[in-house]
Symmetry: C2
Subunit: 342 residues, 2 copies
DNA sequence: TTGTAAGCGTTATCAG
DNA sequence: CTGATAACGCTTACAA
């Protein structure tokens, strides 16, 4: 058995509760005994037992993370390393740890969340994504358990603290950017419509198109998985259109990479024959050839702020609901140009 | 307060200990009471409290993860998303959760580990990397705390369970591959020599060079950070050599991407003017232009097996030390060719 | 300022 | 097969 508070108490000739107070840095304890106790802790190499503390205080200093299905390819997106970094730094500031379970199916994931929550393993939960109809969000809301979502909640936006980009605006921005370059045939290549982020970006795209008085072409809107193959399929379909687009708004960098490759194989030059602008600006955006013009959504901050606000919520349950919008900016690189008018 | 074992006991008209037995699926309990208790649990929506259970049973069903510094760029490598996926799937099979703390400095990380371990937060620990002199490994060893490392321990290899690739062999393989293609001037671009993986790969490279009767040129060995800028620096130095290399062994895909870009800027063609082979085969290896010839080290398996073997170690402390070698294979794509003899 | 003692929700050891 | 009861290591009234 490890050394406990009692051992320390015995050595320091005080009561266990006194030791506990010293640990908690209780102000009403004499400097003398404080020193005495600390010395005893040092001598014995004492370390507080988190589990016992959690049980007694009903708080774990741990944040639960809900990731997408581990079977899901989005899991592979560098996006996640980066949010994770943000999350953990944000948590670390307040000495919170991260706790995660995963699963392959939605069912498994849901069970994992239930166990974390009802099992008292965590003080709060962060959802790393926002789906259109999410059992988990409803569950958490019903139980009134502290949670924040990264992304925009589909329902009850006003009642759920969340950290998000203005994806509608970002998509509108990029589309207008393309229009300003002279494009009129702009396609949208997005991920699953089950993800709120896709919906938002699509809406922003449509809005920009409409406002510019351009006709919305249904065939210009395609949805594919975020990664790899996805991009390829999408692009071939688009190119086989009678009047193929001259520019693409692509919902994710990795997908844009795929597009870039397909284009390359087909023999179309970017940006000469096709302009591409994508989202997220993950590390590889600048390493692609040509480097991607992409919307930096400040992924790290997304994570960092999510942790921060969850902790606030945990430590002050009356904390008002918040919506934190992380700014975005277009990072111009080399995949956009004026259309090649034929 | 949530519903506890006592509430269930009361409703089912049994003792709390009986309920506990039902949960543990204790064989010597009558089917009848088992059913009765389960019904009561269902009615009350009972969920066992993990914390209490952990305290009583001195086991948490959680695995601690030790990540590299969150400030470190390697953290950004897609490598981590993938090990994480492997780790979590491996853990999930046995219903273990993952627990992580991070820090920016080695000091902070070490503290985090101490807290996890001595605080009883986790039953075992997995190190996601292996450094040359690692306080954490010594610490864990001294305390005789179950842990496994992903990568090769620098010291006490025989006494530490680890999951690794045969990086020496892999590096030798790729170098020989290059030699067989006709290259004689082969450079090695590696990450920090503090990482055991770099050392191993360098050694394998050297071995192949020597065995082929080629002179080892000191200037052909450069070390840079794994990511981005790293590659650029390295490559410029190499090209300014009197007799520049015709092929590169690059220790990481992302770094190879950087190299590819620099080469592109300089106006050298790959693989015509320079062959490149790299390691890890992360998702972007196949998406780069040209697609990277890379060594697939089966990152997912690395993580999966690490979880598996740690759990074995936890559940059976007498489990013998294991070394698990995950196979690797060269994935030929388009960055290697015979040298352009001038 | 410090000590006593009652929890926190389980598991585990004895009896019976 | 089941019930008391004592841990597990800490926090927190309540007393002193």
């Amino acid at each position: 058995m490890a050394v406990t508070i009692k051992d320390v108490a015995k050595l320091a000739n005080v009561a266990p509760s006194t030791v506990s107070r010293v640990i908690a840095n209780n102000p009403r304890i004499s400097e003398k005994t404080k020193k005495k106790v600390k010395e005893a802790m040092r001598q014995l190499g004492y370390h507080p037992n988190f589990i016992a503390r959690s049980l007694a205080s009903q708080s774990t200093q741990a944040i639960g993370l809900v990731m997408p299905s581990s079977a899901d390819i989005v899991f592979q997106n560098p996006f996640f390393s980066t949010v994770l970094r943000g999350l953990s730094e944000g948590a670390h500031v307040k000495h919170y740890a991260l706790h995660m379970t995963t699963g392959k199916t939605d069912e498994e994931i849901f069970d994992g969340v239930m166990q974390m929550v009802q099992g008292g393993r965590v003080d709060g939960v962060i959802l790393l994504y926002s789906k259109v109809e999410d059992k988990i969000q409803s569950y958490l809301r019903e139980r009134n358990f502290p949670f924040v979502v990264i992304g925009k909640p589909f329902k009850n936006v006003e009642e759920i603290t969340h950290v998000d980009n203005d994806n509608f605006r970002a998509a509108k921005d990029v589309t207008e950017y393309l229009i300003k370059l002279g494009h009129q045939q702009i396609a949208f290549v997005g991920g699953s419509l089950n993800m709120v982020v896709t919906v938002e970006r699509l809406l922003g795209y449509e809005k920009a198109i409409r406002e510019a008085g351009i006709n919305l072409v249904n065939e210009y809107i395609v949805h594919e998985q975020f990664l790899r193959e996805g991009g390829q399929e999408a692009i071939r379909g688009l190119l086989s259109l009678e009047r193929p687009p001259t520019a693409l708004v692509v919902s994710d960098d990795l997908m844009a990479l795929g597009v870039l490759n397909t284009l390359n194989e087909i023999g179309l030059a970017v940006p000469e024959d096709m302009s591409i602008i994508s989202f997220n600006n993950v590390i590889i955006a600048e390493m692609s050839r040509p480097p991607l013009t992409s919307v930096d959504i400040n992924i790290f901050d997304l994570g960092f702020e999510a942790s921060r606000s969850l902790i606030q919520l945990i430590e002050n349950p009356k904390e008002p609901v918040k919506r934190i919008i992380i700014p975005h900016q277009i990072v111009e690189r080399s995949t956009c140009a004026a259309p090649n008018l034929r």
